[in-house]
Symmetry: C2
Subunit: 345 residues, 2 copies
């Protein structure tokens, strides 16, 4: 691959930006010694330059494009199109349309990011609704789950598209030639669930014989993290509820654990001996490692980082962008969708 | 209250029954020294008598009613009505219809239990769909969540009914005169969610001024366990996905923790000092404590215990039955529904 991987970053979005963004770039440059990428930062060039000096970044791979304004947190998707032109977020995605970058990354306002990404990059020909995909930790590695909230209502065509998009993402990230795909439902038997799910089940079963993915049927929420499936497909309402319930449960348990392990002298003392083990445990479950939801189905990928994450969390999002493009996501998606075209329904 | 609380128990349902059921009865008798209840066991009287001897139960409060057959795990809701007559489960619920018990409890086949409960006890006049309610641990106490899977598709009338049923359950369990109710959604702003949720939101807001409950608006999955709401209302599809995802997440985290705390000599050694703290942590999160989903909306409450739980888990379900009747659940439900009747839509 001769062309460099070019990542466009909205340097102004999210809490404590651009400070955390520039620190994240610094972490990325430190960890990735390849010469095959370029980072384009969009935002207030004066402030960005100062932060670049602060972190002593000297690299030909980092470029700055000035933008006068930023998208406010108060902006809604409805007002965004009028008010967000020429913001750092807008120009960041625009650079992708102009062919100057391969992928965009922002920690800014989610609703606005989805709306203007769709407006600028437009939907791919064969896809009618885009999806937000996330990476969930499991016993073995990671699972791609989509949609996490881009569309609260979906039909069977959308869900089939999500299976193709999600398996393309999995392939680009893990070089797996035939990812396994499951459909989230309230039971694993074929007769369970809504008519929509039954119809989608039939179509995915039919598609499963091609080379894009292997359909494994229904999966229930309690086995989602067993690691027996690579891609989990669901509508945006259900996916969002599942994601947030998992986050809430994880927080509830770890808060309780923290309280228990610091409640008295003996438990505090025990921490000395379990320090490294608990550190590893904490690291494995650190949500920053899984930071970054991928917006799929447009003519170019856009990654949304949590607004409240820190430099390390944002670093993982930059790394995700790099891996996605290195794994040729858009080519994988096009191949998958070509196949879909041949489906006889 | 002069009349005794009478709990009908299907002694044959679930794994390791009737052994675990009788052991659970033994635990309940040991913990509850009141003279205000009676337990009616349904099943093979020979086997039950032997188990009663094994656990040395000598109590006038325990009665046995013989049933020749049991509901098989392989039975489906479709075949159940034909095949389950005169089983221990059937006769257990039938005794409620005949006025010989106040509540039924079974650890048997869930689908069959729901179908035959509905068939025997019938829906309450003003309720069109029943709901399965569960108790979720939260930072402060417990939250009632419903529906957990009795109906995968619901309209706004059903969801409003669930709010009334759920708050009646909460009142009966916690003597709270005006529980708070929230609606599960993908965002907390009023404009979020499906048309169905928006319509339900409006109706619950209107009802919130009466004396049954205080409607707090939407709640997201990540704050479900914060303990800021007493009752969470959702359709059975979403509720089931949320419940199972929470179970899966809890298992994933505690499995990882277990692995970490036993991975080497030092972490194992630390367990000596944190033993009691971790024991308390484990006890608080023990799913057996929350065992028992309550089937609401019929002319009498039916409780479903996990099939795979042990004697302690089943003991908690018996205790739940006792508390529900002691708190006058059916009267609370009728009061709530009377109010609903006056709603002008």
């Amino acid at each position: 691959m001769n062309k460099k991987i070019t990542i466009a970053i909205d340097a102004m979005g999210g809490e404590n930006s651009p400070e955390k963004i520039i620190e994240a770039v610094y972490l990325f440059l430190k960890s990735n010694k390849q010469d095959d990428f370029e980072i384009n930062l969009f935002g207030d060039s004066n402030i960005i330059k100062k932060k670049i000096e602060k972190f002593k970044i000297i690299s030909k791979s980092v470029k700055i494009t000035h933008a006068d304004s930023i998208v406010s947190d108060k902006e809604t998707p409805l007002t965004a199109i009028k008010n967000s032109k020429n913001t750092s977020m807008w120009n960041c995605i625009k650079s992708q349309l102009d062919g100057n970058s391969d992928i965009s990354l922002s920690a800014g306002n989610t609703g606005v990011l989805l709306v203007i990404s769709k407006m600028i990059l437009k939907m791919m020909d064969k896809v009618s609704k885009p999806a937000l995909a996330g990476l969930w930790p499991n016993k073995k590695n990671l699972t791609v789950v989509l949609d996490l909230g881009a569309n609260i209502e979906c039909d069977d065509k959308n869900l089939v598209d999500f299976a193709e998009l999600g398996s393309a993402l999995y392939k680009s990230l893990f070089r797996n030639e035939k990812p396994t795909v499951s459909l989230l439902n309230v039971g694993s038997e074929e007769i369970k669930g809504t008519d929509l799910l039954k119809q989608t089940f039939k179509r995915l079963k039919r598609l499963s014989s091609d080379n894009n993915f292997k359909f494994q049927g229904y999966i229930e929420g309690n086995t989602l993290m067993d690691g027996n499936t690579n891609v989990v497909v669901t509508d945006g309402f259900t996916g969002n509820i599942a994601l947030k319930t998992a986050e809430g449960t994880a927080k509830f348990i770890t808060d309780n654990l923290k309280m228990s392990l610091t409640e008295n002298f003996f438990s505090k003392f025990s921490l000395i001996f379990s320090y490294f083990s608990l550190k590893k445990f904490k690291e494995k479950l650190d949500p920053r490692k899984y930071n970054g939801a991928i917006f799929l189905g447009l003519n170019g990928p856009v990654v949304k980082s949590h607004g409240g994450t820190d430099a390390l969390g944002f670093y993982y999002s930059i790394d995700l962008c790099y891996k996605i493009i290195k794994g040729n996501l858009m080519t994988q998606i096009k191949n998958n969708l070509n196949h879909l075209n041949e489906e006889n329904i």
